[in-house]
């Protein structure tokens, strides 16, 4: 099992959600986050006082998947979240040790 974490442009979330549904993903956790990468922040000016906003708003999604689905999920995110401009985001894949469904106590593959 893997935990796939993707950082997306916020307006791409709905497209990514639809694409993930198509490849059979059963659940996603979404968080609004801020961060910096190669995309630069912006400058705000209030009555002459300039503030450089270094952190850009992004959307983070987390998906737990079985190993067999990993490549399809990554492909779906790349396709649906892509604009070609700096700031499209990143996908991180990490090993997942356990998954437990709280309602039933089911574990691992059957809990995804």
């Amino acid at each position: 099992m893997k935990l796939i974490t993707a950082i997306l442009k916020p307006f791409k979330l709905d497209d990514v959600r639809a694409a993930l549904g198509e490849v059979g993903v059963q659940g996603v956790t979404v968080t609004e986050v801020r961060g910096f990468g190669r995309q630069r922040g912006h400058t705000e000016i209030y009555r002459g006082a300039e503030y450089v906003v270094e952190f850009v708003p992004k959307t983070k999604i987390e998906i737990a998947v079985e190993d067999s689905l990993v490549d399809q999920v990554i492909e779906a995110i790349i396709k649906s979240g892509h604009t070609g401009k700096v700031g499209d985001g990143k996908i991180f894949v990490a090993d997942l040790v356990h998954v437990v469904r709280i309602r039933t106590g089911e574990r691992d593959a059957s809990a995804i």
Partner: protein
């Protein structure tokens, strides 16, 4: 001194003190407009100014900022009843002091149903004195409330109440008396201030400068970013100020007449000119026309046209507005950063500078045709100079004394936490 025993009836001899008049002397048109104006000017402070300032501070200080306007409204009302109105708007023993005590606790301000008489102020003989008194109260309220723009984010609430009370009695009342009450020495000199460019705006702005100098900068200023937390509130506040200002300026005619109409017209025109001139100045020098900029420019224009509104025509209004927009923009941006004081919300930069621009240009543009008065820049300088010197020095002393006794500023920890929690035990969300 007050002929309250006899009913004033002689039109040839204008009264020099509040007088008892018959019901028939009261103009229902004037009274209706002044009742309306009074409500409009109160709207400028609550919620206009409160929202204008409240939107500009950080989220942790928004309630404290709203609270300042609200509490000042209440405390000034009580002081106005107590002695403020009497000191400001009745004749005194010397032109250089305050007015008399004949309206202590508003005694002598009467309405007698059976005798069909009531008192009228000598400054507005066609309306009840009660209406004139309440109209002027709303000016007395907004002036100290404006100062809060300079000391926002760091003054102790208790000390703020004490400062405002003392300042109101020994700075606002005398200056209002000197400029507006006909026996005051600046009025005798011929200083023109139709609706309070000097009494309200220069006065509040210079007290603001004194308060931000005595308090010192906000923690982290200018390194930490302190962006306004909600410019929607600020824009709503500025808009309410604009609407309410028709009561402020056109109401200062104390009549529903042609002069009020001209005051309303020039107020609208100067405000638009100033909003545009600030917007373009910012667009050219900083790259973007901002919402905060156009709203600030509108307020600068309202301030600058205030002393001029009953004296000038529409074209001078465009000039006054355009000059004020650029001057206040430069004061709030370049001047502030060059001199290094932390005028948090630019009460000095907008109100004092805008007030000075307006007061001096009133001297240039005052039209005898509109007002019957000839303007003089030299005479206007007396009003400006006196308010700057007296206002700054007395404000500075009051603030220093409070600072040395009970302390003026919240602790570092309280300032970091925010005034909402530390002063009021509440927060938004």
């Amino acid at each position: 001194m007050l002929p309250t025993s006899a009913v004033w009836a002689d039109a040839a001899q204008p009264p020099t003190a509040p007088v008892l008049v018959g019901f028939d002397k009261i103009s229902s048109g004037d009274t209706a407009w002044m009742l309306t104006s009074t409500a409009l000017v109160l709207l400028m402070t609550l919620p206009g100014l409160a929202l204008f300032y409240g939107g500009m501070v950080r989220k942790k200080n928004v309630l404290a900022t709203l609270m300042q306007s609200f509490a000042i409204t209440c405390i000034v009302t009580i002081l106005w009843w107590f002695i403020g109105y009497s000191w400001a708007f009745t004749p005194g023993s010397s032109p250089y002091l305050v007015g008399g005590a004949t309206r202590f606790l508003l005694g002598g301000m009467i309405y007698q149903h059976d005798a069909m008489t009531l008192t009228a102020s000598h400054l507005g003989v066609t309306i009840p004195e009660t209406v004139y008194c309440m109209f002027q109260l709303t000016f007395a309220i907004i002036t100290p409330a404006l100062i809060a723009g300079s000391f926002a984010d760091r003054m102790k609430f208790s000390s703020m109440l004490i400062f405002i009370s003392i300042w109101f009695l020994i700075v606002y009342c005398p200056i209002a008396h000197w400029v507006w009450e006909p026996s005051g020495w600046l009025a005798i000199k011929g200083v023109l201030d139709f609706a309070g460019g000097t009494v309200v705006h220069i006065n509040a702005g210079i007290a603001g400068l004194a308060s931000c100098l005595v308090l010192g900068k906000r923690l982290g200023y200018p390194k930490e970013s302190m962006p306004p937390h909600n410019l929607t509130l600020t824009l709503i506040g500025a808009s309410l100020l604009w609407v309410g200002w028709f009561g402020f300026n056109a109401g200062s005619a104390v009549a529903a007449d042609g002069r009020a109409g001209m005051a309303m017209a020039v107020t609208q025109i100067a405000t638009a000119a100033a909003a545009l001139s600030w917007m373009f100045a910012e667009w050219i020098s900083k790259g973007k026309p901002s919402v905060l900029g156009i709203a600030s420019g509108a307020v600068a224009g309202l301030v600058a046209i205030t002393p001029a509104s009953g004296f000038v025509g529409p074209t001078p209004a465009v000039v006054i507005g355009a000059v004020a927009g650029v001057a206040c923009f430069l004061a709030a941006t370049s001047l502030k950063s060059a001199l290094g004081y932390d005028d948090s919300l630019d009460a000095f930069g907008v109100h004092c500078i805008g007030g000075i621009v307006g007061a001096l240009l009133t001297g240039v543009f005052a039209s005898k045709e509109i007002s019957g008065s000839e303007g003089s820049v030299l005479t206007q300088l007396w009003g400006v100079g006196t308010t700057l010197v007296y206002g700054f020095s007395v404000s500075f002393i009051i603030l220093k004394v409070i600072d040395m006794t009970i302390g003026l500023r919240v602790t570092e920890e309280q300032e970091r936490e925010g005034l909402d929690i530390s002063q009021h035990g509440e927060r938004v969300e």
